[in-house]
Amino acid sequence: MKNTSNKYLIAALLIGIAFHGTSIFFTLETTYDALIHLFFADHYATSWFEPWNYKWYTGFTVMSYPPLVHQSIAALSLIGGLKFGMFTVALLAIVLFITGVYRFSLLITSNRTAAGYAALLAVFSSSFVETLHVFGQLPSIIGISVLMHALPEIYLWLKTGKWRYLATSLSLIAVTVTSHHVTPIFGMIFFIFPLIGMVIMDHSRDQVDSVKAITFKVFLNSFFKLFKRIISFGILSLVIIVGCILPYWINSKNNPITQVPIPHGSRDNFLEITSSGLVFFLIPWGILLILLPYIFYRYYTKRYLFFGLSMTILIVLGTGGTTPIPRLLLGETAFNILTLDRFTLWASIMSLPLFGEFTYRFVEGDLKTLIQNKFGAIYHRLIGGLLAGLFLFMTIFTMSLSYFKPSQPQRIEMLPIVNFLNQDNHDQWRYMTLGFGDQMAWLSAQTNAMSVDGNYHSARRLPELTTRPIERLENSKFKGVEGIGSLQQFLTTPEKYNFKYIFSNDKFYDPILYFCGWQRLRQLENGIMVWEKLNVPPLSSILPKDDVATWQKILWGIMPFLTVLIAFVLNIQMLWIRLLKTKAKKLPAYLNFQNDYSKFSSGVLKMTHIWSFILALIVCYGTYIFYIKNESHYSPENVILAYYDALDFKEFETAHSLINPKSDIPIAQYMLEISVTDGLLSSYAKLDAITTETLSRTDSLASLKVFTDWITPLEKIKRVDYKTLVKLDNKWYIQPEDIDLDLPPDQLYSSNSTNYFNQGRRRITTEETHHEDILKQPVLEILKAKLVKFENHYAIIGEIQNIDNVPADVVLKGTLYNDDNKFLATYNAKYHVNHKLMPKEVSSFRINFEGIAWSKTQDSIPKTFNPDEFTPIELEEQPTKFNLQVAGNISGSDLFKNTTITISESNDTHLSGTLFNTGIEEVTIPQLLISYYDADKNLVWVDHLFVKEGIRQQRSQTFDFPLLTNETVRVINEDMSNCFVNGLPNTAIASKIVPNRIRNHHNDEFQKINHPIYKFIKLEINTYIGSPN
């Protein structure tokens, strides 16, 4: 055989590098994983041999992910920066993948042309494009590519028994395992086992005259003959898999993944959740779906039988939760830990050789002859065009998936944040990002500051995180209420984590930050809002870490590059010979098993036609269903769904297009009406669920009851709306609603207020703040405090007053003890207190003792969680005493107090009234603090109410809330001797400033209510201003 360069392979490499090499610059940074790998690379670049990383999750070990790819990026970053490293490694991955597919295809098809076609197709294969450009899984790609390079070597070792092949194959396995741990383990099962089967088949074929003569007995004989080679390879590769990343395995054993599994789209039922079906099934399979009959036909021939079996299992596993089989096959634990998309990736890669073979036969082989003879040359061309068109469509669609459905927020300029963290010792505290997406990893890579959050969920350590199925706190709103619940715990007790700064790119979280006592610091020039919390101590200079033995560190630092070096030295010689053809070389053994490409089975052709027809039917039906579901004017329900959807995503133009055109509301008017409504529901709610109930329907009129569940950062809101719809020109429209008509009496308002500014360090210096620049902490007084038991949980309730002359930010921390003074629990006041108090202002407060939600049993996580609910802490013993620590700090922000409360009606179940905004700021979310008193005017309980709608300037808003039902509150302890203000005893400090306090001064002003248990009520208001003027 003439030994020429494979022009297809060369073309594939050139096109592949040009195509992917240019496009990675536009895609890779917005993928899910790439920036995480970049963060790991940054870790190695700064401390190669130290596996402990402090930057995420209050510290984690990078030994939880194989290091080769990260270390390669790190090494390259020393030349041209982290991103240079990442793109270079991506280019290497592309080259490795294309050549890997070529070698694997050559091994399977024994035909250079077919393998060349396979390499060309691999460049554009949608599964590869998706893995690289959408998921950004560089280690996974490198792992599978190197594994494909290893397969021919393994074949040759098993077939010929030459030691050098054992060495080369093992060296490549080592490289695979250091770049990705899952690939060699499953690759062993799905690629190497079938390969072993194929070698035994080939060996058997050598023993007999024809393929048909291979009986089970012959097969068994060959198996025993090759047994020594198989077993030696098996054991040695196992040693390599374990040995090369031994610290990884030790770490996994010491820190087993005991966390609650994180939902992943690849485990969904693809028929139910079609978006997952698209991303994890349709896209990776792409055009291969049409060829399935051919692929199965070929893989189920005798020689490839084991590949056929492996392929079948891979396909089934790749279907995720669509069928129960993957769950049964893998078992519950593995099913919930593994992401199943990798199986589809491997199945599609396994199909590539046959795809190449098919294309070869279609373009220039027997299939072409068959089709042309049967259906004519034009049909062949048409089909060819159609298939090529579909193939390219899938590629282009996959490449631009993130354009249609952005998986990440807009690119955030990190420099202002990095500068902020660097200045004024801001990196002495931990920070958190909100709404950054995977870009948080890029921020972490650029700064020395530490985050309480992280982006590699397997390494989470805090129980607050591992008990929740959330990847990051950062995007907790997408994880519904579990996410928000988890976030709330961090926001309420930030001093536990030395957590002071939040960079928010999503105003959704603003209300919860405010009500948990955070304050806006300023907006950075990139539009990111910085929030800070007062009274948080800085990080200590020595932080705890889980140290590992030095030998592990050295092994981890040296082994990956060593494996590459060894593999390079062992394989370079052969590569050299193969590429440059410096000397005539014996053909590899697998090329002796040529396939017959002279007679394409007409049965398979027929089957493929039938299958394509079925597929076409399914696609058509799917499109029809999609149309019916998404055509907004098709039915009243569709209009409602589309309308709420449009409102949820703030697509007001779309929403307006659904409104009855005859109602004569121009878009400008509509936008105006929408824009003046502010509040929890219209500005901070995300639609969680919507159901409709048709009350009546005629041909042209319909009236629907719409039940909506909204997730807001503060609580879950259920709403029932009544909507009327009309049909005009065969299209349904929604009838618009009334607007607020209230007109305030004045046009221009003036308002005087006292503003405060604390300039911090008066001298610009990097030294510690001068002692004369440190303000005195405002003096607060705890007027009342008592430990009560309400239903099944304990709380500290009371009243606090700012008795100083400056406004104060208030932090309340309660601790419970039992009779033996044993510590039981500690927590901070969340939003049952007004965190900002003017001089002499009073606020009621309540401290709930929250446990780490659902830490007991995983299955008790409620399906529908309300962020307002909390998990009461499980106390081993009865708390009988409490300690209350209050800290005040001067704060000049969020001091808007101009909202009045008018109670207009109360009965034994409800209390209603009006709030009126007398100020010149728009109140976005009003919160009422409701204190209940008994007949003797003793405080017994403090509750809260978020009013759903905001209050515009000089306008009023009604409120109505149900009074507590007959739950009794038991007061356990009213002893205030353990109350402290700024570390000093409350009584001492209070008697100095207010020696002759008028006790129960307000008592005459409580609202009397008609309730069997509670006789009086007091209302206080706390207002969140979304956009201060």
């Binding site: 607020d740 002359n805 409360i901 008018t902 008028i998 609202q1007």
Partner: protein, 404 residues
């Protein structure tokens, strides 16, 4: 065999003699301190000299407030000389030493005095704000130091000066244990106190302390309004008199005052304001029905006002209601105010719909051009008999058994 015993006994002997030899060497060595000076001035070069016989390989353990150190001697003709490093000889205070010999450790101490020339005054003042009235105080701590950062010798006189309003006060304080301090009490007036100190002709920088007013005392309130009609639209403003503390200081800006309003029916309203120059003002929307308000303002736990009474006259005497033919549209109005003008937009009208005596729904609408319209949707209110009740501006109109 015999050789073995021989070895053992030989080695044992050797060991025994060697220890004896060491012991004899030790006991021979003697050390005596030659340096007689026991007091030095910081910054001088200090050396401790010892006469010795025997071993010269000894170390001096030295310790003062700076830390501890082991010093090696310079051996010079039967004399050991230990030079104190500068970090230690620059530090005033007691300096302890011990010669590390195994037999007769000798020890002693010398005193290093600070220089008598002053270089800097370190002062600390806190808290930076105190309350007027004479009980609260701030403390100034002054540490005069020499150029090596040693506090000057005790009983150095420090002059502490402070100025408040028109007076300047000067007092002398002696340092003790290295520092001087003075508690400066507030007076009855608020203001800013400037504080400084001087020592040996060196003056410190200026410090300031804010004397804040004490807690407020009772005050008066007043109200202002455009008219006295209950139109539900205009705004009444409440104002306090200038709130002062018991020493006649105007309370600090931002003091929070709450106004509680009780109406005829006993329902409470609440508005609040913060003081500017002692006066707080707060607004409240007029009621939309005839009412009497009793208003009292509080600074909780500290002071309150007297109660004032405000009367609001009914602005709307009546309104008309028209039902459509199918009774499903209710039109109200035109609603007229006290001069027969149409009420300003936004007067709230509450419609209560009862079926069989049970409240079904309570829609609320605002007037527009004095009119308001309710439509009773046939899907929400199926055919049947209903009672409706309209309520606005304190006027209630009921319509029984309306057929829908």
């Amino acid at each position: 065999m015999t050789f073995k015993y021989l070895y053992i006994s030989f080695i044992s002997l050797l060991l025994l003699t060697s220890t004896v030899v060491v012991n004899t060497l030790e006991s021979d060595a003697t050390y005596t301190l030659l340096t007689t000076k026991r007091e030095f001035i910081a910054g001088e070069s200090i050396a401790l000299r010892f006469a010795f016989t025997g071993d010269s390989e000894v170390l001096l353990y030295a310790s003062n407030s700076y830390g501890s150190i082991l010093l090696e001697p310079v051996v010079n003709d039967k004399e050991l000389k230990f030079m104190l490093p500068e970090v230690m000889s620059n530090k005033s205070g007691v300096f302890n030493w011990q010669l590390q010999t195994t037999s007769h450790p000798i020890s002693g101490h010398i005193t290093i005095q600070p220089k008598s020339k002053i270089e800097a005054i370190e002062s600390y003042l806190g808290p930076p704000s105190i309350e007027a009235g004479g009980t609260d105080y701030t403390m100034l701590v002054v540490i005069p130091t020499d150029d090596l950062d040693n506090p000057l010798a005790d009983s150095t006189s420090v002059t502490i000066k402070h100025q408040f309003l028109t007076n300047t006060y000067v007092s002398d304080v002696m340092t003790k244990n290295g520092f001087a301090y003075k508690n400066i009490s507030s007076e009855t007036k608020k203001g800013r106190m400037l504080i400084s100190s001087s020592c040996l002709d060196l003056n410190s920088k200026e410090f300031d302390v804010n004397v804040m007013p004490a807690i407020p005392t009772d005050f008066k309130i007043d109200s202002e309004r455009i008219h006295d009609y209950a139109d539900g639209n205009q705004i009444t403003t409440f104002k306090t008199s200038v709130i002062k503390d018991r020493y006649d200081n105007i309370v600090s800006d931002g003091t929070f005052v709450t106004f509680f309003i009780t109406n005829t029916a006993g329902y409470k309203s609440k508005t609040s304001g913060t003081t500017i120059n002692g006066m707080a003002s707060a607004n409240m929307l007029h009621p939309d029905f005839e009412d009497q308000w009793s208003v009292k303002a509080y600074v909780e736990g500290m002071a309150n006002s007297d109660t004032i009474v405000l009367n609001y006259k009914q602005a709307i005497s009546d309104f008309e209601v028209a039902f459509s033919e199918d009774n499903r549209t209710l039109t109200l109005g035109p609603i007229q105010s006290f001069m027969s003008q149409r009420v300003p937009d936004g007067l709230t009208i509450k419609l209560s719909i009862y079926k069989d005596g049970m409240l079904v729904h309570q829609p609320i609408k605002d007037t527009f051009n004095g009119m308001a319209e309710f439509y009773l949707d046939k899907d929400r209110y199926p055919k049947g008999v209903y009672d409706v009740e309209l309520k606005t501006a304190g006027i209630v109109k009921s319509y029984k058994t309306i057929n829908l």
